[in-house]
C-alpha cells in the first residue's frame, strides 16, 4: 500500500526552505534508489552560498521570538511532530527504504526512533526548564538554561530520519534557530521532516531546510560567524574538519562555537569459550551485515577465543552465506545495497587490501543492478591489519583470534575508536571485567550491538568516535543550552521575608 503510494510520488523536486519560503536554486541533485539507481527518488535543489547567508540572517531575525517562546510551547510542537510521524509511519519508512536502501523492518524501527526523539526531548526540555534554585535568606539564586542561538545540523544518510530528526528537534526544542543540512543521498527524507515540522507549527526562520554541497556551502555554514553550534553525525574525516574549522574565530564573531560530533567506530564483539554460540553467531551476523554494515554501531571485528575459533568461524560463514542479497524492498532480503557507487568502490578497495593481508572466508555473487557489495568475511586477521583498524562502513567483517580474555580485551580496545562493543559470554568474571575495561560508549553483553533505543540505550562514544554526550540520554540537551545564574539581593532597606521565621 504505502509502497504504491510512495512510488507514485517519486521524482518530485524538493526545494530548500529559507525563511518560510521554498526557494528556487541554480543547481539540483538527483537522489536515487541504491537498489536501482535508475529510479530517481527526488530532485533536490541545492542552496547557494548567498542563499545560505540569507538563511542565517533569517535565523538571526527569528531567534529573539523563538527564544522567548515558553519551553512548554516548544515541547508541544515536538510532540505534535512526533504524532504526525506516527500517523505517517509506514509512508516514511517506505521513503527510507527506497532512498537509502534500508530493509523495511529497520526503516520502520528508525521512524519509531525519530518519534521517540520528539517525545523524549519534549519531556527533557520541560525537566531542564525548571532549572535549579539555591535560595537563602535575603537572596535568590536561579540557575537557568538558555538557548545558544543559531544551530547548524549536518545529518548523515545512514539514519536519514532518526538522526536528522534527533539532532534537529534537540536544537529546536532548546530554543535555537536551526538549519538542517542533510546528506545529499537522503535529502528527500529530510524534506519530509521539514514538512512535518512546519505542519506541527514551527515558525518561519526557526527551522530551515538547507540541502547543499557539504564541501562548499556546508563548510561555509560551519565557518559562519553567526553560527553558535554545529551538531554533526558522519565520518571521522569530516567531523575532525568541522571541529577544527569551528574553533577558528572569524571576524565579527563574538563567541566560541560548540561542536557535537558523532563519528565512526571500529566496533568489536568478543566471543569467549562459554558463549552461547547459537546466539553469538546470529547476533554477530545481524550486527555486522544488517543494513550492509552501514551503521556507526555495526560490528566490523569479531574477536574469538581460541577454543571455539574453528567452530564459530565455520558457523559464522555458513550463516552469512545463507543471507539473501537483493533490493531493499524485497522482503526476503537480508543484505541490501550500499549507499552509492563511491561507497561501493571504497569498500571494494578495502576488500582488496584485506585479501592482500589476510585470508578471505566468504565472498558471494551480487546483483548487477544497484550498488551491491557482498557480505565479506576475513579470517586469521591480525589486530593491526588495515581492515581491523580503519572504519570501512560496509559489509566487511574481520575475524581475529585471541588466545585468552586479556588479549581479547586488548585487541578490542586497540583502535582509535570507542563507540560500541559487545561480549558474548557466560563467564561471570568476564562479564564483570568487560564493564570496566572494554572502553566503548555503548557496551552490549549477550545481545546485538546495534539498535540503541532512545532513553534506554542513550547512544554515543568517545576517543575518535566523537565529542559530546549521548543522543537520547539525559545530558544531550545540555549541549544545546547555555546555563546562566541569576542572583538577586531581595533585601530592601534591610527588610526581607525570612522563611521559617515570623
Amino acid at each position: 500500500m504505502a509502497l504504491k503510494q510512495v512510488r507514485m510520488q517519486l521524482g518530485q523536486t524538493y526545494s530548500p526552505l529559507v525563511n518560510g519560503e521554498f526557494v528556487s536554486t541554480e543547481t539540483q541533485a538527483d537522489s536515487v534508489n541504491p537498489s536501482n539507481p535508475a529510479e530517481i527518488i527526488g530532485k533536490v535543489g541545492l542552496l547557494s552560498q548567498e542563499q545560505a547567508d540569507q538563511a542565517i540572517a533569517a535565523a538571526k531575525t527569528a531567534f529573539p521570538q523563538w527564544q522567548a517562546t515558553p519551553a512548554a510551547e516548544r515541547a508541544a510542537i515536538l510532540r505534535r511532530a512526533g504524532d504526525l510521524m506516527a500517523e505517517r509511519r509506514s509512508e516514511l519508512a517506505t521513503w527510507v527504504m527506497l532512498e537509502v536502501g534500508k530493509a523495511l523492518k529497520q526503516a520502520d524501527a528508525e521512524v519509531s526512533e525519530a518519534i521517540d526523539f520528539c517525545h523524549y526531548y519534549a519531556d527533557e526540555i520541560e525537566r531542564l526548564d525548571r532549572g535549579y534554585d539555591y535560595d537563602l535568606a535575603g537572596e535568590t539564586n536561579h540557575y537557568r538554561y538558555f538557548p545558544r542561538g543559531i544551530a547548524v545540523v549536518i545529518s548523515p544518510w545512514n539514519f536519514p530520519i532518526a538522526i536528522a530528526t534527533g539532532m534537529t528537534v534537540a536544537a529546536l526544542v532548546t530554543g535555537n534557530c536551526t538549519l538542517l543540512k542533510p546528506a545529499e543521498n537522503s535529502a528527500v527524507i529530510a524534506a519530509k521532516i521539514g514538512e512535518i515540522l512546519i505542519e506541527a507549527g514551527i515558525p518561519k526562520g526557526v527551522f530551515q531546510y538547507v540541502p547543499a554541497r557539504g564541501s562548499t556551502v556546508g563548510a561555509h555554514l560551519v565557518k559562519h560567524p553567526d553560527v553558535h553550534l554545529i551538531a554533526f553525525t558522519g565520518s571521522r574525516e569530516v567531523g575532525c574538519q568541522i571541529y577544527a574549522e569551528a574553533a577558528q574565530v572569524q571576524p565579527t564573531q563574538k563567541h566560541l562555537k560548540r561542536v557535537i560530533a558523532e563519528m565512526g567506530g571500529k566496533n568489536a564483539i568478543i566471543v569467549d569459550e562459554s558463549a552461547d554460540l547459537d546466539q553469538a553467531t546470529q547476533r554477530v551476523v545481524t550486527s555486522a551485515f544488517g543494513y550492509s554494515g552501514q551503521k556507526c554501531s555495526a560490528c566490523s571485528r569479531v574477536i574469538v577465543l581460541a577454543p571455539i575459533y574453528e567452530t564459530f568461524v565455520r558457523r559464522l560463514v555458513e550463516a552469512t552465506r545463507s543471507l539473501n542479497i537483493g533490493p531493499a524492498e524485497d522482503p526476503s532480503t537480508g543484505v541490501g545495497p550500499v549507499i552509492d557507487a563511491k561507497a561501493r568502490d571504497r569498500i571494494l578497495q578495502y576488500i582488496e587490501t584485506g585479501k592482500a593481508q589476510s585470508q578471505i572466508a566468504l565472498e558471494m555473487p551480487v546483483p548487477a543492478t544497484g550498488y551491491f557489495v557482498s557480505p565479506t568475511i576475513f579470517i586469521e586477521v591480525a589486530a593491526t591489519d588495515t581492515i581491523a583498524q580503519e572504519e570501512i562502513f560496509g559489509p566487511v567483517l574481520a575475524v581475529i583470534k585471541a588466545e585468552n580474555f586479556d588479549q581479547a580485551l586488548e585487541i578490542a580496545n586497540g583502535t582509535d575508536y570507542g563507540l560500541t562493543g559487545g561480549l558474548y559470554s557466560r563467564t561471570p568474571s568476564h562479564i564483570e571485567r568487560s564493564q570496566r575495561e572494554f572502553a566503548v560508549g555503548n557496551l552490549y553483553i549477550n545481545r546485538n550491538i546495534t539498535g540503541a533505543i532512545v532513553a534506554r540505550q542513550p547512544f554515543g562514544g568517545f576517543k575518535m568516535s566523537g565529542v559530546g554526550s549521548k543522543a537520547g540520554g539525559p545530558d544531550y540537551l545540555l549541549q544545546f543550552l547555555e546555563p546562566r545564574v541569576i542572583t538577586e539581593n531581595i533585601q530592601r532597606q534591610g527588610f526581607a521575608p525570612i522563611e521559617g521565621m515570623e
Binding site: 562459554s274 551476523v285 577454543p307 558457523r315 545463507s322 522482503p331 526476503s332 557466560r426 563467564t427
Partner: protein, 454 residues
C-alpha cells in the same frame, strides 16, 4: 456434530477423575523425600535448587553454560564463579565440594567431574537418547508399558541453509530408522489401534521454522514457499514409510505464518486426505481460542480430520519479556489461572468437535487431563479422536495412571546431543523445581510454566 453438555456434569466428573489420578500417582513419595542424604548427586542438586531460590538461579545458569566449556579446569572455574556468588547460600555438601583453591587442582577436577556427571544424568532423565539407536531402545521400553510416542530432534537453532537441509535429512533418516524398528515391534492393542482401525506406530514432531534458516514472518510469501517445499518432501516420505508427522508450535511471532503454511499444504490434493498429521495450539496465547475456532471451520472444509495437540505453551517468559521490551500488547495470559481456564475452554471446544479434529491433550496438570477425560467419557468420544500426552521423564506416574484408565497416552520424546538439548533441559528443570501448582510439593508436578510441546 457438536454435542452440548452442561458444564456441571463435566465438573463433577472432572473432580472425581482427578481424585483417582492423584491417589494413583501419590504412592511412595514421602519415602523418597526422606532419603535425601543417600540420593545421588543429580537428585541432590534438584533438591538443593528447590530449597534455595538463589542457588536455583545460579545453578541453572551454570548448567546452561556447562556443555560449552572445553576443559575440567574451565568447568571448575565456572562452578566457583557461579556458586560462589554472594546471592547463593550453599548447603554444606556443596561447600565442601567447591572448596578448592585452584581450578587445575585434583579437588577442582573432582568437583568438575562430579557436576558434569550429575548434569549428564539429569539430562538423560528428560532426553530419551543421544542417538537414534538409544532412542529406539527407550521407545521399545515405553511401548512395553503401553505408552506410545512422538520423537522430536533437539537441535541447535537453524541459522544456515546447510543446517535447514540437515534438519530435514535428519528427520527423513529418523523416520526411516523408526519405521524399520517398528516392523519388529509386537502390537500393543492399547496404542496401536482404535475401534479396530490400525494406528501409525511411529510419530515424529518437527519445528516448521527449522526448515528455512531465513524464516521471517515479514517475508511471509518467501518463507512459506521455502518451508512448504520441505514439508511436502517430509510428508511424502512419511507416507511411504508409514509415519505420522506432528508440527510443533514455537514463538508467537511465528504462529500466524505457521498455521497459514500448514493449512495451505494440507489443503493440497496430495495431502488433503491425510489424517495422520497434527498441529499444535498453545492455550497461554490470548488468541488461541479463536485460532481453534478457525481450525474447526477449516477442518470441516477439508473434511479429513487433523490432530490438534493442545498445550499450555513453553515460551511464557520469553513472550512476556519480548512484549514488555517492545511495548507491545501481551500475547500470553499474565496469570497461570487464565491459561488453565482457557486450556479447559479449548479442550471442550476441541472434544465437542471430535468428528472434525482429533484431540491430543498435552499437560502434566492432573486437573487439565481429568477435565478432558470427563468430557471424553461423558460424550463417549471414540478412542481415535482423543489421546493424552506427557513429556518424557516429567510425569511417568500420571502417564501410567491415564493409560490404566484406558486412554492412549503418547510420550513426547526429545532426543539429541546435550549442547543443543540444553535449552530444553533447562525448561524441564525449571518446571520440575517450581513450587506452585495443583499438586504442589510432589516432584513431577509442574509449576507456573506448566508446559508441554516446546
Amino acid at each position: 456434530m457438536v454435542v452440548q453438555v452442561s458444564q456441571p456434569t463435566y465438573e463433577q466428573k472432572t473432580q472425581a477423575i482427578a481424585r483417582e489420578l492423584i491417589s494413583a500417582t501419590r504412592e511412595k513419595r514421602s519415602l523418597f523425600a526422606q532419603m535425601r542424604d543417600q540420593m545421588r548427586w543429580d537428585d541432590r542438586l534438584l533438591a538443593f535448587a528447590m530449597d534455595n531460590p538463589g542457588l536455583r538461579v545460579q545453578l541453572f545458569r551454570f548448567i546452561d553454560c556447562l556443555p560449552a566449556l572445553h576443559s575440567k579446569a574451565e568447568v571448575a572455574r565456572h562452578l566457583q564463579e557461579y556458586l560462589g556468588d554472594p546471592s547463593v547460600e550453599l548447603p554444606e555438601a556443596l561447600k565442601g565440594l567447591l572448596n578448592f583453591a585452584n581450578a587445575d587442582s585434583v579437588p577442582g577436577q573432582l568437583a568438575a567431574t562430579t557436576f558434569s556427571k550429575a548434569v549428564e544424568t539429569l539430562a538423560h532423565k528428560y532426553i530419551a537418547g543421544e542417538t537414534i539407536a538409544q532412542v529406539i531402545k527407550t521407545l521399545d521400553r515405553q511401548r512395553q508399558g503401553k505408552l506410545t510416542f512422538t520423537v522430536d530432534l533437539l537441535g541447535e537453532a537453524v541459522i544456515t541453509e546447510a543446517e535447514a537441509q540437515a534438519y530435514l535429512n535428519s528427520y527423513l533418516e529418523l523416520m526411516q530408522q523408526l519405521t524399520e524398528a517398528a516392523k519388529k515391534w509386537s502390537p500393543v492393542e492399547a496404542i496401536d489401534s482404535a475401534e479396530g482401525e490400525p494406528l501409525t506406530k511411529v510419530q515424529v514432531t518437527v519445528k516448521l521454522t527449522a526448515f528455512y534458516s531465513q524464516f521471517d514472518p515479514l517475508d511471509a510469501v518467501g518463507s512459506q514457499k521455502k518451508v512448504s517445499d520441505r514439508i511436502r518432501t517430509l510428508l511424502r516420505r512419511a507416507q511411504e514409510l508409514g509415519a505420522a508427522v506432528h508440527f510443533d508450535m514455537e514463538q508467537y511471532v511465528y504462529k500466524t505464518l505457521t498455521l497459514a503454511t500448514l493449512k495451505g499444504v494440507l489443503l493440497e490434493d496430495e495431502f488433503r486426505s491425510r489424517s495422520d498429521i497434527g498441529v499444535t495450539l498453545q492455550a497461554y496465547l490470548r488468541d488461541s481460542y479463536s485460532d481453534l475456532q478457525d481450525l474447526v471451520t477449516w477442518a470441516k472444509e477439508r473434511s479429513t480430520p487433523l490432530s490438534v495437540r493442545l498445550v499450555k505453551g513453553a515460551y511464557w517468559d520469553q513472550e512476556t519479556i519480548k512484549a514488555v521490551q517492545h511495548d507491545w500488547p501481551q500475547p500470553v495470559y499474565s496469570q497461570k489461572e487464565s491459561t488453565d481456564a482457557n486450556f479447559e475452554r479449548m479442550t471442550r471446544l476441541l472434544l465437542e468437535n471430535h468428528a472434525h479434529l482429533y484431540a491430543a491433550i498435552g499437560s502434566h496438570n492432573v486437573r487439565s487431563q481429568a477435565y478432558a477425560m470427563a468430557i471424553a467419557e461423558t460424550l463417549n468420544i471414540p478412542k481415535r479422536a482423543i489421546e493424552l500426552q506427557v513429556l518424557y521423564g516429567m510425569a511417568d506416574k500420571l502417564a501410567k495412571a491415564m493409560s490404566d484408565r484406558g486412554y492412549r497416552v503418547r510420550v513426547y520424546c526429545p532426543y539429541g546431543e546435550l549442547i543443543p538439548g540444553m535449552a530444553y533441559l533447562i525448561r524441564r528443570l525449571l518446571e520440575n523445581t517450581a513450587n506452585s501448582s495443583f499438586c504442589g510439593k510432589s516432584r513431577g508436578a509442574p509449576g507456573r510454566r506448566t508446559a508441554h510441546g516446546s
